[in-house]
Symmetry: C2
């Protein structure tokens, strides 16, 4: 076996030298290429460097390197409607087909009418009925398959691209940069945990076990052939929004994050919880102030309030007071979206 | 900078050669030294080799390598009483001190009496009252500190060792072997998720985010100084036992395990769920048949039923029928516990 060891050692040597050169090249190149130089970019780089440099007073041991990211409005577009709501509305015809009696029952009747104005006016209570009807009552694997199919075909009305392509390139930079420095990156979203898990691994490189979302109960049972399955139940375990975000983080991760990224009042408690820990902590908020490349909304910049992702004046004031870093989409990002992929142009 | 790169490359070369030699040494040495040769050991090694060898029809991609382990009776001693119950009983005096009116109220009165026979006879309902009083109502960090303190001082009555040392050496072998082969090892326990998280990282090398246990709700709030904290509430989110185990796995991991280890009827659904997936799956059960070195209990071997960790005859029959591998503690393990550490002998 000796010759084999020698060959292997040589191979590893070649790889190691390659890695050494690669490490150096990466250190010299920009870790956040889609970011313009400025306080936001500097805050991220300074934080990562300080917390991962042995001997730095702000050094964080590898096991404690946890970074949490809101999804809607922080990692991808949330306007004009959360894409999960689009999924639920698009699923209504199938639900009505399976239960024809719903065709004459509100809010399903309104959704089936196709009247966009009326649909936009549906109340929160109506939306909840639609969510329950379209997100529960089926085995987890059936739900997964349906959601996957929809994500492959659905298109954002403005960009005509799959929702999964309307993610923010600069935030991909942050995810990759933090992971390259030993951080485990988690999504912490008000969206459905099972829904986001369907695409998070492919889209963000975030595996299912690192998706914390609004959680519903499941019920273990057996099908007719005796094969076990989990049925998605209309039973809310945790609404992973506002105060629910730190609660969800404790439940799913059991550690306080070192860094947290959000964009709305729904992320406030997550950022507060993150910053309340000892040592180095980073809290950042994406401000949507780019009407040309994306959207501009929220009272914090004197714009009318939005149904989704509200960056309130109170949140803005708290951020300034507590040293949370506000990211200006307009000024801090030199690109917003990843380049259109071949897949996207041919579809 | 060129000389620096060269020095770095040389250093990495030395390390790489060291690693290459180390890898070879490990491959030649026994990955499961505390196991005797036999069908159980063979099942583990065969499974790991098949699922991690590129080109093998049973190969499992790295991201899907999830292995779940029950704790009580699978990773450590569960007789005569789950150690978490001991913690709760030991905490009763402090609870009564804080709320003196409980001294005359059952079941607290019985616990305070110190009458072991009476305590052993407490009903499930009484135990639940004690669990709620001792595991909830405090901030998560206060609970963590209390549990940590107890674990450092409490001793198992038979071995006079800390509970955290009464873990099974052969199962440490399995945890390390699977992790060395890219498996993420999770605890999936009926015990309290927050309780097990206090020691799982130090004891098993399993981080908090890989502990799935019985889950209670928390409530986010602020203390008098305005600092946020999470209060442990007496609100059960998921009882992570029996059917709750696959439900907890879906909630916390979102993937079906490739391998699952248990020891009682409480693990049955987890093993069924694991084996119901496609491709290579491993299901194993620890049978406590070693009255000399540990305990012998459970109807599966004609022994009287136990209050905890019941290896029922039905479970034994299902295991045999479905090809789940039964581990005989007596025959398959050449050691049961890790050697007494210096810490343990001096304490």
């Amino acid at each position: 076996m000796k010759p084999s060891v020698t060959r292997r050692s040589l191979l590893i040597l070649v790889l190691a030298v390659g890695v050494a050169i690669g490490v150096r090249a990466a250190a010299q190149s920009d870790p956040l290429p889609a970011w313009n130089d400025g306080p936001a970019k500097k805050a991220i780089v300074d934080f990562v460097q300080a917390t991962t440099t042995q001997g730095n007073p702000q050094f964080v041991p590898a096991e404690e390197r946890i970074a949490t990211f809101d999804q809607d409005g922080t990692l991808w577009v949330e306007q004009p409607v959360y894409s999960q709501i689009m999924y639920c509305l698009d699923r209504v015809p199938a639900v009505v087909k399976a239960k024809p009696e719903l065709a004459e029952v509100e809010p399903f009747k309104t959704v089936m009418s196709g009247n966009r104005e009326a649909i936009a006016k549906l109340s929160m209570k109506d939306l909840e009925k639609i969510l329950v009807a379209t997100l529960t009552g089926m085995p987890t694997e059936e739900f997964r398959a349906e959601a996957k199919k929809w994500l492959e075909t659905a298109r954002d009305p403005r960009w005509k691209r799959p929702y999964t392509e309307l993610t923010y390139l600069p935030m991909h930079d942050v995810l990759k940069y933090m992971r390259a420095n030993g951080y485990r990156t988690y999504i912490v979203t008000g969206g459905g945990q099972d829904f986001v898990r369907v695409y998070a691994e492919q889209v963000y490189g975030i595996p299912p076990e690192q998706v914390v979302g609004t959680m519903g109960g499941t019920k273990f049972g057996y099908d007719k052939a005796g094969k076990p399955f989990l049925l998605k139940e209309p039973r809310l375990l945790l609404n992973d929004d506002k105060a629910g975000k730190p609660e969800g983080i404790h439940l799913m991760i059991g550690r306080r994050p070192r860094a947290a990224f959000g964009n709305s009042a729904g992320d406030r408690e997550m950022l507060e919880y993150t910053k309340a820990g000892d040592g180095a902590r980073l809290a950042m908020l994406v401000l949507h102030d780019d009407a040309t490349r994306e959207y501009a909304y929220g009272p914090a910049q004197g714009l009318p309030d939005s149904k989704v992702g509200t960056f309130t004046q109170a949140l803005y004031d708290e951020a300034k007071q507590k040293g949370w870093v506000v990211i200006s989409m307009k000024n801090d990002w030199n690109e917003v979206f990843p380049p259109t992929t071949v897949g996207a142009t041919t579809r």
